[in-house]
């Protein structure tokens, strides 16, 4: 193992530190010119390890020009690292220029960086992609020695990661000798990450350096005093104990699973906050300024606790966090570890974490996660192929930088691990899409964005194309959101448009830690005032929910099925499971437990799938469709992370027929194609691929309009060219884990191999209780929108007893013009009779609003 040269050795010694073995190992790898992946827990001097070889090299051979590029998934992280790196660089008198370049960098500094680049540039995948579209990119990167990719585990496997991988492949073409360094938190499978980092897409070409594990985290389980809740997933009952923990510790991060949960926990903690502790709130829907304010207060030690969602999973190191509280089940082991690592970034002391399960199932999940961490077993998804939409964007970006030969680009792209298996057909289709949309009906010849010269090289048609690309570069697609503003006050943040559309003026809801009253819409702003009462709703955010990881689910099933493993569970949970064993049976480790029982005039059917809420939702749709066909008259269903519950008018018998694997056949495809899940996927793909613009030069197209058109385009394309590359990309996403179809397959496969255990009970079973009292959205059988509309329309008709003001009736009854507020006036029967008489000349419209045939 090598040693450190001066002044580095002296700098370490002067601080009473010794370089850590993994820091020296990275230095060695760099001396051999090798790329390397460093896997180390937080607090191990990981970032410095990544930069050390560059600093040593620049000290040995000082030279101007870009030497090292650092890419992080977070702008804030890039800025923070720049600051932290400057300290040792200045103390050692290295005289280096270190700068950041992100979307926030002012234009004049960006221009200067192109003219006279710093030696170390810290940036994001998006800004790197933009740099690569510059015509002078080859000169800019000519002297590049190394790329450092931070939090690589959070990038690989995402679309941003795909884009970065393609950018790295491009860089490797521009600068063949360049080293790559990846910095990662502990992961289950390092090899896919090595492959991701490799210039050949093969893992063996990248050295693996594993830092010494930190002290094992100390994880406590916190249960509410008194009764352990049967259901619910908010964990609010335990807030008094959480508050006590906050009071006893220095600084606490309270992690929760959803933004709605964040709002509710924040409210609950403040209701208990007799000591007036400074407790903050942090989630992705708050404005950037608000989030920065909370982060700064946290860094300055002004906060005792912050309630946060995944928005704080990654990010700058605050050092002084004493404990992490996880409210609600952790859902995944790697994720939990990442969160726990946010406490105490000092490696040699154990991180302290407290798990707060919200219900009995979650207790089991928490125990399973704690055991997994103890056994140092992590979950993780296998790598998925790179998105075709990202490829489309990349092809255009390459063309914008300069002409290329398709054969060369295909070879280059395949050197990026996510695209190593890319077929030539898909590549050519992506290229054709970029050229003119790639439709079978080639109408758009004259509008081509690319053209080929005599040597077959591909050029962009015009500067307008380049401008358009640069404005729309990136793979982050926001959901259509509306700003929430206090009347005459500041913008509080953003909520999803559909949530606002479900509010009527006067409704109360909780947002940004405040009780608000919805007043009305003003363009893209939801106007609100402070509310004092009423039953508030909490915005729920689509897609913000992490599903239970497959791997953790298997551990949960393992514990449930094995009474010997129960000794680690709290007594009420053991009692609950004993009751279940006595009254029904335990869900098997393999196989599928299905219970049926009558209750409240309906029959319930519960399938213990353990594959996450999303998968169970889809499963519920498929199963109820089949129940309908078998004449069981299903009425509705709901899904939790653990079970799917459906209810029907008739007793379900022969339940094996409901879980046959052909469930995933045509019915699913048909439903999937029309599902909002696929529509959302398509919308994102269409935007990333460049079919729909996020931004257009000289024109602000409202996002509201864009969402609409994505749906319309989807419908037209599906009908007229179902094999178009963007639809193939959409289906590929659905099949590879971005949606949860694969996990339904797992349930059905277990059912087939392990068999279905059907228990026909005479009443609800103990395990069934948590899901049946779960509050949340329930779905109608079949999930059809039209059925919902019909029901709602009928309901309106029923409430108003058909005496709604309408059309000529209204005009002819002008003796009473309804004033604001009295449209809910209950009409007396005699009034109605009179109205009907007067309405006689008007033929009563059949089928107007009632679902007659």
């Amino acid at each position: 193992m090598g040693t450190l040269p001066e002044p580095f050795a002296g700098w370490f010694a002067g601080r009473g530190w010794a370089p850590r073995p993994h820091q020296l190992a990275l230095l060695d790898a760099a001396r051999r010119g090798e790329s390397a992946l460093l896997i180390a827990p937080t607090g191990g001097g990981k970032t410095l390890a990544g930069f050390l070889p560059s600093l040593v090299d620049l000290h040995a051979r000082p030279r101007p020009g870009l030497h090292t590029l650092y890419v992080s998934p977070l702008k804030a992280l890039a800025v923070d690292i720049a600051r932290n790196l400057m300290t040792p660089v200045e103390q050692m008198g290295l005289g280096l220029r270190i700068e950041t370049r992100t979307g926030d960098t002012p234009a004049n500094r960006r221009a200067r960086q192109r003219q006279d680049p710093p030696q170390i540039l810290l940036t994001t995948p998006e800004s790197l992609a933009l740099l690569l579209t510059l015509e002078d990119a080859p000169e800019l990167f000519a002297g590049l020695g190394a790329v450092v990719v931070d939090e690589i585990h959070a990038l690989a496997g995402t679309k941003r990661g795909d884009q970065l991988a393609l950018g790295l492949a491009r860089l490797a073409t521009l600068v063949p000798g360049m080293r790559r360094v990846g910095l990662s938190a502990t992961v289950a499978h390092p090899d896919p990450l090595r492959a991701y980092l490799s210039t050949t897409a093969r893992p063996d070409d990248v050295a693996l350096v594993v830092g010494a594990g930190g002290a094992e985290p100390q994880i406590d389980l916190l249960l509410p005093e008194g009764r352990l809740p049967w259901g619910g997933e908010m964990g609010l009952v335990t807030m008094p104990e959480v508050y006590r923990r906050i009071r006893e510790a220095g600084v606490t991060i309270v992690f929760v699973n959803t933004r709605a949960q964040a709002e509710l926990c924040f409210q609950a903690l403040w209701r208990l906050n007799d000591d007036n502790l400074p407790i903050g709130l942090h989630h992705g829907s708050l404005t950037v300024e608000q989030r920065r304010k909370v982060e700064a207060a946290m860094a300055a030690g002004k906060l005792r606790a912050v309630v946060a969602t995944a928005s704080l999973d990654l990010g700058i190191d605050w050092g002084a966090v004493d404990q992490v509280v996880q409210v609600g089940a952790p859902k995944g082991v790697a994720r939990l570890l990442q969160r726990i690592g946010r406490a105490n970034h000092r490696m040699d002391e154990p991180s302290r974490a407290v798990l707060v399960p919200a219900n009995r199932f979650e207790v089991v999940e928490c125990i399973a996660a704690r055991q997994a961490i103890g056994a140092q077993e992590l979950d993780g998804d296998p790598p998925r192929p790179g998105g075709l939409d990202v490829l489309c964007q990349h092809i255009l970006a390459v063309a914008v930088a300069g002409p290329f030969l398709p054969d060369d680009l295909y070879a280059e792209v395949r050197r990026a691990a996510p695209y190593s298996m890319l077929t030539r057909e898909n590549f050519d289709d992506a290229l054709r899409f970029v050229e003119d949309g790639g439709y079978a009906l080639s109408n758009y010849d004259r509008f081509r964005r690319l053209f080929r010269d005599a040597e077959g090289r591909v050029h962009v048609r015009s500067n307008a194309v380049a401008r358009q690309l640069r404005m729309n570069l990136g793979t982050i697609v926001d959901l259509p959101m509306l700003k929430v503003r206090l009347r005459g006050g500041p913008v509080l943040g953003e909520v999803e448009e559909w949530f606002v559309s479900s509010l009527t003026p006067g409704d109360a809801f909780i947002f940004a830690g405040q009780l608000l009253r919805f007043e009305g819409l003003d363009g893209l702003v939801a106007l609100c005032s402070r509310a004092s009462g009423g039953e508030p709703r909490v915005p729920v955010y689509g897609g913000s929910r992490m599903p239970l990881s497959t791997w953790l689910a298997a551990r949960v099933r393992g514990i449930l099925a094995d009474p010997k493993a129960w000794k680690h569970l709290p007594e009420p949970v053991q009692e609950w499971l004993r009751l279940q064993r006595h009254l029904s049976t335990l869900p098997p480790k393999d196989g599928l437990l299905v219970e049926t029982f009558p209750r409240g005039g309906k029959f319930f059917l519960l399938a213990y799938g353990f594959e996450g809420k999303l998968a169970h939702q889809t499963l519920g749709m498929l199963v109820t469709k089949r129940m309908e066909r078998l004449g069981m008259a299903p009425l509705g269903y709901l899904a939790t992370d653990y079970v799917m519950a459906a209810w029907s008018a008739f007793e379900p018998t022969g339940v094996e027929r409901l879980f046959e694997e052909d469930l995933l056949g045509e019915e699913l495809e048909e439903w999937m194609a029309d599902s909002s899940m696929l529509r959302r996927s398509f919308r994102n793909i269409a935007i990333v691929a460049g079919l729909i613009e996020k931004n257009h030069p000289n024109q602000e197209k409202s996002r509201r309009q864009m969402t609409m058109s994505a749906d319309l385009i989807y419908d037209v394309l599906r009908k007229h060219e179902p094999q178009h590359i963007l639809l193939r990309a959409t289906r590929q996403e659905a099949a590879t884990g971005l949606t949860d179809v694969a996990r339904i397959g797992l349930v059905l496969e277990r059912a087939r191999r392990g068999g279905i255990i059907h228990r026909a009970l005479d009443r609800v079973s103990p395990l069934a209780v948590p899901s049946l009292i779960e509050k949340g959205r329930e779905w109608v059988a079949g999930g059809a929108e039209d059925a919902l509309l019909a029901e709602a329309a009928a309901m309106v008709e029923e409430v108003t007893e058909g005496a709604e003001l309408f059309s000529e009736t209204l005009a002819e009854l002008t003796d009473h013009i309804p004033a604001r507020g009295d449209r809910d006036r209950v009409r007396r029967p005699r009034d109605r009779a009179r109205d009907n008489r007067r309405r006689l000349p008007w033929k009563a419209p059949k089928g107007l609003a009632t679902p007659t045939s």
Binding site: W498, E519, L521, E693, E778, E785, E791, A811, R823, L848
Partner: protein, 230 residues
């Protein structure tokens, strides 16, 4: 398909769930905002939308014509997405359109997207058109009665127990009828938007398009008030 009858200025009209209106007494069919060639309009600006929108819209129009067999077809404006749209029709689409318009009287009400009469297509082009007590125009006028118009692409969200469901819709009161946009690539404007709500000061009724029927619900003046407050 269950069409819903409504009465406008004493005339009985049938609202079709496919988004057009029939006036059986006059053997007339009205449809609005086809926005033909919107796809190619975007393609010219670099967004290569699927070039099937015109075909799709015309096929839908064909179904409507087969269903009602009218003698007159009134197009309520914005039939083409831009003034030169009719020159970009593919040969196939142009032939299909001519076939559809053959043998019937065609009235092109001009809209803001297509202010000039279409070239090479049958029919008359007018700023507005009257028959009996009804008037057909592109943009609704304040104070009008017996008016059919388009322009706004109305859509509405109906709350259901599984969240709001949004669909294009007709909006009507005793005086006027707003038609939804018929084109395959036409988006929508919420009827609570002041631009639409101010046309219905006493509220009205929205008819959301469904696959086989319409779903109607009253839109009270309160919704308008909420919009107007903003």
């Amino acid at each position: 398909m269950i069409a819903a009858p409504i009465h406008l200025a004493g005339e009985r009209l049938m609202l079709d769930p496919a988004g057009h209106v029939a006036w059986p007494a006059q053997k007339l069919l009205a449809v609005s905002d086809l926005h033909l060639e919107k796809g190619s309009h975007f393609a010219a600006r670099g967004a290569m939308l699927p070039p099937y929108d015109t075909k799709e819209t015309l096929e839908r129009l064909g179904l409507a014509l087969r269903r009602w067999r009218p003698q007159r077809l009134v197009l309520l404006g914005d039939s083409f997405h831009d003034a030169t749209g009719c020159t970009r029709l593919s040969p196939g689409d142009a032939a299909l359109l001519l076939r559809l318009l053959g043998g019937i009287e065609v009235v092109w009400v001009l809209g803001n997207h297509d202010p000039a009469p279409p070239v090479g297509l049958p029919g008359i082009a007018v700023a507005e058109w009257r028959l009996e007590r009804l008037v057909f125009r592109h943009v609704a006028q304040p104070g009008a009665t017996g008016e059919l118009s388009g322009h706004f692409h109305p859509k509405a969200t109906m709350p259901t127990r599984a969240g709001g469901v949004t669909r294009p819709c007709f909006v009507a009161d005793a005086k006027r009828l707003l038609l939804p946009a018929f084109g395959a690539y036409t988006g929508g404007l919420d009827i609570a938007d002041p631009a639409i709500a101010r046309l219905f000061p006493r509220g009205g009724r929205a008819f959301l398009l469904g696959s086989g029927r319409l779903f109607s619900f009253p839109t009270g003046p309160l919704r308008h008030a909420a919009g107007a407050m903003a």
